[in-house]
């Protein structure tokens, strides 16, 4: 996990001035938030990610002394909320820092606390808001570079234009496309693209939480694939179990194109913009040309 992060930091360092040691530190609990923080704040902010693999059981997550040290130093912590990274709270509380800001993305987007799908970064509106909030937080920590951070946030927003165009083009042409999914990982993107998600939400949540699915919901999902009522099968390729594996086999047997989506940003070779664009292009390739994309290339 740290090896992957080191690779990403090293890659980032190659095209930017070296961070100075007195720079404030910002933590993105998930690597996709860290990526946006880095795009807004570097080199005047040092950025770290903690979770690059969110499937590790939060209760099994053991904070190493290094993680605790970084949390203690951090002036800004961006967490997703909605229980996705609840384990961070006691760690933050254990290392108080008077001027620290904690940005909860769920609150930033003004979503209700009982929102069932925590994969907020798949919504095209999420990251521009995170970038703006990060720029404001960085400006408060380092007022001398306020204009720089604000310009970076605007540049980040503008850099999402190809992705937004891709979504709009898909929506115009393929709105109403029926899709089946496993977990609700990419649901917000699918909805933005105008897809109709036919998989029962109860099944998506059971698969996400690793609880017993109802046989009625399993049968409904199998029927979607067997009757070929969906144009594409979108599955979380990072996380599998016996049921998702058998659903994947069924989709392949029925010649339904499959798209593997990622819960965390694939690294190296991707930043947030390229990652989302690649997922959206994979969706289009599946719907328009029947092409499967199990994993994203470098």
């Amino acid at each position: 996990m740290w090896a992957g992060l080191a690779g990403y930091v090293a890659l980032a360092a190659g095209c930017a001035p070296q961070a100075n040691h007195g720079a404030p530190m910002a933590i993105g609990v998930e690597s996709q938030y860290a990526n946006v923080l880095w795009q807004v704040g570097a080199p005047y902010v040092t950025v770290r990610a903690i979770e690059t693999n969110p499937n590790t059981n939060p209760h099994a997550f053991e904070a190493s002394p290094a993680v605790a040290r970084e949390i203690a130093r951090a002036s800004l912590i961006v967490e997703n909320g909605l229980g996705y990274d609840a384990w961070i709270k006691p760690l933050v509380a254990a290392a108080p820092k008077p001027d620290r800001r904690v940005l909860v993305v769920r609150r930033l987007l003004a979503l209700p606390a009982d929102t069932v799908n925590p994969h907020l970064w798949y919504d095209p509106r999420t990251m521009p808001a995170v970038a703006r909030a990060a720029a404001a937080a960085f400006a408060a920590m380092d007022p001398a570079h306020a204009a720089y951070f604000a310009a970076n946030a605007r540049r980040f927003d503008a850099s999402l234009a190809p992705w937004r165009a891709q979504i709009a083009a898909f929506r115009k042409r393929y709105a109403g496309t029926a899709v089946a999914v496993t977990e609700p990982v990419a649901d917000l993107l699918l909805q933005a693209a105008g897809c109709r998600i036919r998989t029962p939400m109860a099944l998506q949540l059971a698969l996400m939480n690793g609880t017993d699915p109802a046989p009625q919901d399993v049968a409904a999902e199998q029927a979607l694939l067997r009757d070929r009522s969906v144009k594409v099968f979108v599955y979380n390729q990072q996380v599998t179990d016996a049921l998702t594996t058998s659903l994947l086999q069924l989709a392949r047997a029925e010649h339904i194109p499959v798209v593997g989506v990622y819960e965390t940003m694939p690294q190296p070779g991707y930043d947030y913009q390229r990652w989302m664009l690649a997922e959206t292009q994979a969706l289009r390739a599946a719907v328009a040309h029947g092409l499967s994309t199990a994993t994203l290339g470098r």
């Binding site: 699915p213 109802a214 599998t240």
Partner: protein, 300 residues
């Protein structure tokens, strides 16, 4: 056959693929557990059976890391543990309990590590719930033939040793006098126990499998007066609890806001009810008759 699919609520039940798989694997497990559980209870090896189940959980956890059929994982570890426990034959009951307890702890400890690795290395979600408490509705259909072959093997082995095992359970000396090879019979029984436990672990999970192994047999032994009727009653209770539990879990989808409760809960609760009912019948009967129940057999 698919014409029953149109029988309203329960029509969907019979034609639901996860339900059909659960009925087949669960039925096989209940049948084998009732038969093997009967001799296990009579030989007072319930605790050993539970230990085997916990150890088999480590095998089930390992199956996700190795990418093999989980049934083979459960089976491999249960058979290995049964072999070790038979090999380290300890005569004194107190010492046997201690050894069993140590083996049980080792098995669960290993399972804790392997489940952690499943989640962190293999990114398998829900492995802990599936291995420890069972997820019958996620059993892949490809397991059905394998499970039925394992069930047939366990039943075959039990049938082969049924009479001599019964005699050696009642009196080792009598069995020896009749020319039975007591040690061989005990080993075959241990292997049948390993098969039964791994099937039970596949259905209600490693931790709850003791309920399926011991419960129906213990209930039957409270009321039956002869081995044959105890066997028939144990099979009946085991199958009724398992299939009834599957039906209740299916129905619970309509009582809850579309979530449904776990099958393992319903199966174990039905077994407990059967046991309580049998106890009540036995207590009422003991007032009027003095028949000694089978479960009171003397050890050695």
């Amino acid at each position: 056959m698919d014409s029953i699919c149109t029988w309203g609520h329960m029509g969907g039940f019979w034609c639901n693929q996860p339900v059909r798989v659960a009925l087949a694997v669960g039925g096989g497990a209940a049948l084998v557990c009732a038969v093997v559980g009967l001799s296990t209870v009579m030989r007072r090896q319930a605790f050993a059976g539970h230990a085997l189940a916990d150890v088999s959980g480590a095998g089930g956890s390992a199956s996700y890391l190795l990418g093999i059929n989980p049934l083979f994982g459960f089976l491999g570890m249960a058979a290995a543990a049964a072999g070790v426990m038979e090999w380290a034959q300890v005569r004194e009951a107190r010492e046997r309990d201690l050894l069993t307890g140590v083996v049980l702890g080792a098995g669960l400890g290993l399972a804790a590590l392997l489940l952690y690795l499943d989640m962190t290395v293999r990114n398998v979600s829900g492995a802990a719930i599936t291995v420890l408490f069972g997820s019958m509705f996620t059993i892949p259909p490809s397991i059905v033939p394998v499970a039925l072959i394992v069930a047939a093997a366990a039943l075959g082995a039990s049938a082969l040793i049924f009479r001599p095992l019964l005699v050696s359970t009642l009196s080792i000396d009598l069995a020896r006098a009749q020319g039975a090879r007591v040690r061989t019979i005990a080993r075959i029984h241990a292997m049948a126990l390993a098969l039964a436990v791994s099937l039970a672990a596949m259905t209600v999970g490693a931790i709850l499998s003791t309920a399926l192994l011991i419960g129906p047999a213990a209930a039957a032994l409270q009321v039956a007066r002869r081995p044959a009727s105890a066997l028939a009653l144990a099979v009946l209770i085991g199958l009724a609890a398992t299939w009834g539990g599957i039906a209740l879990a299916y129905q619970s989808y309509y009582w809850t806001p579309g979530r449904g409760w776990p099958v393992s809960f319903f199966i174990v609760m039905l077994i407990v009810c059967a046991y309580l009912l049998a106890s009540a019948v036995a207590r009422r009967r003991s007032g009027s008759s003095a028949t000694a129940p089978l479960s009171g057999c003397q050890e050695h």
